[in-house]
Symmetry: C2
Subunit: 366 residues, 2 copies
């Protein structure tokens, strides 16, 4: 980890830990939820909304920004922070997940992957080197190795090959990195095969990254296998580096991940769920289209401090959602993101107070 | 005008005037632009956004709210202000314009109009009495008479009949009104026929309303005829009552209306224009889809104090608009509404300072 970064575990409770990660754009408190701003915007929310909601970091997507507006456009604007008006930390993923999951056209060939653009079908070629350069142009605080992400149910032989390729690619990303003000994270793969996960951890740790991510577990596996793999893998990672579980964003899953010692997680679910007219609450998910809310004067979630809950009734939100008014999508997105940010913050407080077990037990099943 | 309202002309400059209108929800400064919140939401903007933009009053639509969510739902929530979380004045239009313009199914029969719902095709019947009761249930500060709105180019005989019917209906609205905390405005019709406009003014003034609106001039006439009719009609209205020109929202038109002595105007244009990716600026309208903005680091409008112009570049806005990101629609809507609110505020200051002519001359053509 370069001098621009410093990770410190401030308190632990079982495997769960409360930490801080100093970055060039300020100190991030962990565990933390990272709202996803795929195209340099967290859908429907402005930077001001995200700051009000307490977001400490957001994620953006190298694949999408490579195509639109293009990394050069963003680099010439001074990088992602200035382009999108967000002064706090940003993490970009490398595009690996998108190359392999969007459009189903990826072909590993030579020293990289050829694939067709989701935007116009044109052919493109990514390598570990080009994905690293791309993320250096975008300029996030935390960047990710270019990995191969294999769908759930892949055959074991292929999975092992992929684990070794991902490790080779990680070494190439490490060598390709030229900026020391970006923390490059290695990614552990291996599906739900614990032996392959162990091999992947060993090969990735050899490269000594500033942080480690667990990838390939949000691609369709059964929940118990995901949890088991997550706990097993997190237990093999060094305690003095931040751990990031990629693609996790349901309230129960977040608390499970924190319990396993995960520090960071991201997901499009809170904003996507909102655009489907649904809200996270401590009673579970509410579908605002439900006629039961037509005359409900209460807030979405009593006690929630977000602008939506402070200002509007379920009755009004139902009206907005059923009438497809953009304000409804915005307010539900704001609430759902706030709900997950608050959940991580409350978990952090519980860890610091040594009562995380109690906190976890108080979560509704769901 | 009941004791709940007080209109005062504070300064004049030619026919243009700067005034205040005291309402149960605070004092409104005129001339003012009223953003349109058709379905109890100004599209993409929250009440907080509207307050930040300096909106003193917004408009909502009785026709749409009658169908969704229904006037009873809103009345049981304590009225529109509480339902939508807006504490400043609200004006509702009566539904007359929508009944006659949406779906083309209106049939004048008996003592009212039968028409088919835009929402589900069901048949409904509005009368001056029912439209007044509907607006009393919604609870806006300013409510409008139920009028017949005739499309441009109607035959003169029909137009005269319609002027007389609108006046009869206005008398019935006046008698039907039971709340004294709502200012009921009469509406002058007559197309671009100045004699019919004069007749309509005379018949409406006889009923002594708290304010007067000029209707039926945003339905497809040529601009010069509209301006001539507006000036002629405004000149016949009493100086001590607020004057509202219905459905006007382009920058040049607003300044022309203020010059003619109009105090209030509304239009869906600024938010609709925004949803088409276009922004009002002092250089004219910009189409943010234009490739010329791809690397433009300037704000939409230099000097504009809105959150969009303070925080984001044209390059970022172009990215959002071309990627159909909701944040782009939101930010352009916020700017366009702010632009018109600021225009009216600057006109007010110019009137107070006796330099409105200069202000008007400084407006770019177009």
């Amino acid at each position: 980890m370069s001098g621009h970064f410093k990770f410190k575990v401030e308190a632990s409770d079982g495997a769960a830990r409360a930490g801080t990660l100093a970055t060039p754009h300020g100190v991030l408190e962990t565990p933390c939820f990272m709202p996803v701003g795929t195209r340099a915007t967290v859908k429907t929310l402005s930077p001001r909304d995200l700051e009000d909601a307490g977001a400490g970091i957001i994620l953006a997507n190298a694949y999408h920004l490579y195509f639109r507006p293009g990394a050069g456009v963003i680099a010439r604007r001074g990088g992602l922070h200035r382009f999108m008006g967000w002064d706090r930390p940003i993490l970009t993923d490398s595009g690996g997940f998108q190359v392999f999951s969007l459009g189903d056209t990826a072909r590993i060939t030579g020293d990289g992957v050829s694939f067709h653009s989701l935007y116009d079908g044109s052919e493109h070629f990514f390598t570990p080197e080009s994905a690293t350069k791309l993320q250096e142009e975008l300029g996030a605080d935390i960047i990710m190795c270019f990995d191969e992400c294999v769908p759930a149910g892949a055959e074991r032989g292929y999975l092992g090959e992929s684990v070794r390729r991902t490790a080779d690619w990680a070494a190439r990303c490490r060598r390709a990195q030229t900026r020391d003000d970006q923390l490059l994270m290695g990614i552990v793969q291996g599906g739900i095969d614990l032996e392959l996960r162990r091999e992947s951890v060993e090969r990735t740790l050899e490269l000594d990254f500033g942080g480690y991510a667990i990838g390939g577990l949000s691609v369709g596996e059964e929940r118990p296998a995901t949890l088991e793999t997550m706990e097993f893998t997190a237990g093999l990672l060094p305690v003095d580096r931040p751990r990031y579980f990629m693609g996790l964003g349901d309230p129960t899953g977040i608390v499970d991940a924190i319990a396993a010692g995960i520090d960071m997680f991201d997901c499009v679910l809170p904003t996507r769920t909102a655009r489907n007219g649904r809200a996270y609450t401590s009673e579970g998910r509410l579908n605002l289209r439900n006629a039961a809310f037509a005359e409900d004067d209460g807030p979405l979630e009593p006690g929630c401090g977000c602008y939506c809950c402070r200002s509007f009734s379920r009755a009004y939100l139902r009206h907005l959602v059923t009438q497809k008014e953009i304000l409804g999508l915005h307010l539900l997105s704001l609430h759902n993101v706030t709900f997950l940010l608050d959940l991580a913050r409350r978990a952090r407080e519980a860890i610091a107070a040594g009562r995380f077990g109690e906190f976890r037990a108080s979560m509704p099943a769901g």
